[in-house]
């Protein structure tokens, strides 16, 4: 599918629908836009603290002073923009699959970005692949910016090897503001994904994991004598594929996926596995339903 056709009018309608539906889903839990834990110049009362010199007298609670004779300052919750970082694996392995996993990932990222932008969150898209340092979409907010997101995603050409740890390492050091970090990848990393997720956690990001899986890659239908080439490393291997070998491969792939889920579950990281055969809107709803992505 050409990248231009990824975000057509029908896609936009679907995004709007997703936004409306997601609001209904989460209306019981989230009544307004996000609030930070900081206290400041908000309107919502949060707490009291003792008066110290220099405090603004406008926030002095005179009622308490009249009843108790103590000078207390009223604290209000300060409203703050939420930063959502969409970390998109743009390595060469994402190019494979039918349809290519990168296309599916683009749509998912665009949908999440739309929901975020609609909630007035700050959205930033960070492609992860060896040799892609510095090419990221800076944080942006406002529903109208969705087209910029589309443009960025369209211009994203997958390539290079997967090195999640290196990519996430660079990201955490460059991003001063903490927030939600949604990692969208196939997790085909020779060095493993554990380092990358730990890095996000250590730097107090709230990681979300979204694994994109092509069913054809999970359960390939190859047979016979083949020469398989790794699309990232160029590694060549001769294989005689038999049904038994295919079954073993499928088990191995399943083990890879289940390993990721177990790792995330053990660390309280929400983890979703998305098969490219599943419509992306269904995935988005599932992500919202299972909760955690929006507070």
């Amino acid at each position: 599918m050409p990248s231009a056709a990824l975000f057509d009018e029908a896609f936009l309608k679907k995004l709007e629908y997703l936004y409306v539906v997601s609001k209904k889903v989460f209306s019981g839990r989230i009544r307004a836009e996000r609030r930070s834990r900081k206290t400041g110049s908000g309107v919502e009362f949060a707490d009291h603290r003792g008066y110290t010199t220099g405090d603004d007298l406008r926030y002095l609670d005179w009622g308490v002073y009249g009843r108790l004779g103590r000078l207390l300052i009223r604290l209000f919750e300060e409203e703050e923009d939420l930063h959502i970082y969409l970390l998109l694996d743009a390595s060469a392995s994402m190019r494979t699959g039918r349809p290519p996993k990168i296309d599916y990932a683009r749509q998912v990222v665009a949908a999440l970005a739309y929901v975020g932008l609609s909630n007035l969150d700050r959205i930033s898209i960070v492609p992860l692949a060896v040799g892609r340092d510095g090419r990221r979409m800076p944080p942006t907010r406002g529903k109208g910016r969705i087209f910029k997101v589309f443009e960025f995603l369209r211009g994203l050409e997958p390539g290079g090897a997967t090195d999640l740890s290196a990519g996430v390492g660079a990201f955490v050091h460059e991003s001063k503001r903490r927030g939600v970090a949604v990692l969208v990848s196939d997790f085909y990393d020779p060095a493993g994904y554990e380092g990358a997720l730990n890095l996000l956690r250590y730097h107090r990001f709230e990681p979300f994991v979204l694994q994109v899986v092509d069913p054809g890659e999970a359960r390939p239908s190859l047979l016979g004598d083949l020469e398989i080439i790794d699309c990232e490393t160029g590694e060549v291997r001769e294989v005689t594929v038999s049904p038994r070998l295919l079954a073993a491969f499928a088990r191995e792939h399943q083990a890879l996926c289940e390993g990721l889920e177990a790792f995330c579950s053990a660390r309280g990281i929400p983890c979703f596995r998305a098969e490219t055969s599943t419509p992306f809107d269904e995935l988005i709803l599932r992500v919202f339903r299972e909760g955690g992505f929006l507070r």
């Binding site: 085909y188 004598d225 398989i228 990232e232 590694e235 191995e252």
Partner: protein, 638 residues
Amino acid sequence: MSFAGASLVSLATGFALAAAALTTLYVLKLRLRRVEVPFARLWARVLAERESSSLWRRLRRIVSLLVQLVLLALLALAAGDPRLGRGRDARTIAIVIDASASMRATDERPNRLERAKEEARKLVAGLGAGDRALVIRLDAQPVALGGLESDDRELSRQIDAVAPTDAPADLERGLRLAGDVLRGQPHPTAILIGDGAWPREVLDRVRLRADDGRAPALSAIDLRGVDLRYLPVGSSSDNVAIVGFAVRRYPQNRTSYEVFVEAQSFRDRPSSLRLELREDGEIVDVQHLDLGPGERAARFYPNLAGSGARLEARLRPDPDRGAGALDALPLDDVAYALLPPLKKQRVLLVSPGNLFLEGALLLDENAALERVPPAAWDPALAARYDAVVFDGFTPPAPPPLPALYLDPQGPASPFTVAGAVQAPLITDVAEKHPLMRWVTLRDLNMSRSSRFSLKPGDVALASSARDVLIAARESPEKTVALGFDVRHSDLPLRVAFPVLLVNALEWFAGDEATLQAAFRTGEPWRVPAAGDEATVRDPDGETQRVPVVDGLARLVGRKVGFHTVESRGGARTIAANLGSAAESAIRPARELVVDGKKLEAPSGFDARLRRELWAMLVLAALALALLEWWTYNRRVTV
């Protein structure tokens, strides 16, 4: 095991070449299909787990190669057409099956012929690799039922086609046919399957040995170099037969007839029999007949009278001595004959008046005589009569019916009158001509006689030196001419005169001479018929078309009983009998000695040799190919 197809050397060479090509294809590294995968390491992990079975993987490739080689070997073997059993040189075999009347004997179940066919089938089933054979039906007209074949199904079909006949076997022709077929062929073998009841005279003329190097006599049956074998069939000689059956009407009284029956026993024990004579199915006479072992007895039935035409003589077991089947060969227990039809001849005498002649003609009870004077002669009269006698009168044109001329004159004479002879003496008489039967013309006196000049085909019945005085012609109409007036001779005073007239009228009628009371099966039959073709219906109702040449339908009859011959001239019934004492002597010969050598039983016929393995080998190869295909697609052998 032996190979009937390609030789072992060529098979081995072919297999070696194909196996080498196959192995080369296996050794050659195939260009593999390239597939891009997102994460080769995952494959590496899977393969690493299976590394332990890499030895089996290599072995599987070898197993696959071996399967292919076995498949190739099976196909190569099939091409060789292998046969089980010991191989030997190919033979050419003529299987001669006796289908003569004696083979219908029921001492073997169901009869000897079926038993012989069964033996022949066993031989065919035991033909060796490369053996070729043909089947010869030995009956009155021996014939090869096909070409030299190695296909046992075709040979079985030939054997099935051997049908029984009621005729004697023509052994000489059968053996000559076998000799002709086998001459020049590798390892010629002739196998006689039958009861051996064949004429000793024929067997004595067979030549098997070529030790003196001289060509055998023309009468000899040349089977030199042929391995002649004999397979006897039959166990009993229990037979009595009617070996002779004749009937004739009395010449002077055609309403009566006489019958001659001759019966013979071929048993080793006395027989008590009843001999029945039937006319058109009605019993005319029954006689008791006691026959000792090998005894022959004749019975004569004179002065029988009746209007029937079909006569039948039948031997039956004496009811006082027990019932049941008479003997092993019922075929010759009955004989058939036809009586000549009773018919009065209408004769026209054209004469001014001749008492001698009229008196002699009136003596013949079989003739109805009418006389007209010469002036009243009209050719249109001819249609009303069977024969005409011209006495001293020569019609301007010969009539379209048989005619007897007495002293014809002028250019219209049937035989050209070349002059006259005074007081001739008869010197030569054609005694064998039916006209001259019982006629003596010695010392015949006459005053004068015309001298006839004959044409080709005319017969001189009586001549004086070179002068033909009495002549006969058969076509277009039977014509007889006497060159003299009987009144000017002493012929009317002799016995010969009425006899000559009766002979002439009988010859004109034609029946007596050509009608045969009964024909013998296996012999050529000649039956008067008109047109070019006749249809013969045998006693079983089967019909066959036969050619008619010179007014005679010609065929070789094979069945006993009454046959009907239909032609343009109408239908005619004829009777046929076996009438062969040699054939009725059904005692089987346990052994045959030919040319001083006892004929051995056939050998070297092993049913296993015939079993064709190639089909099974091809099936096995096919099964293996299917297995290979399945395992390949299931990735078991790759």
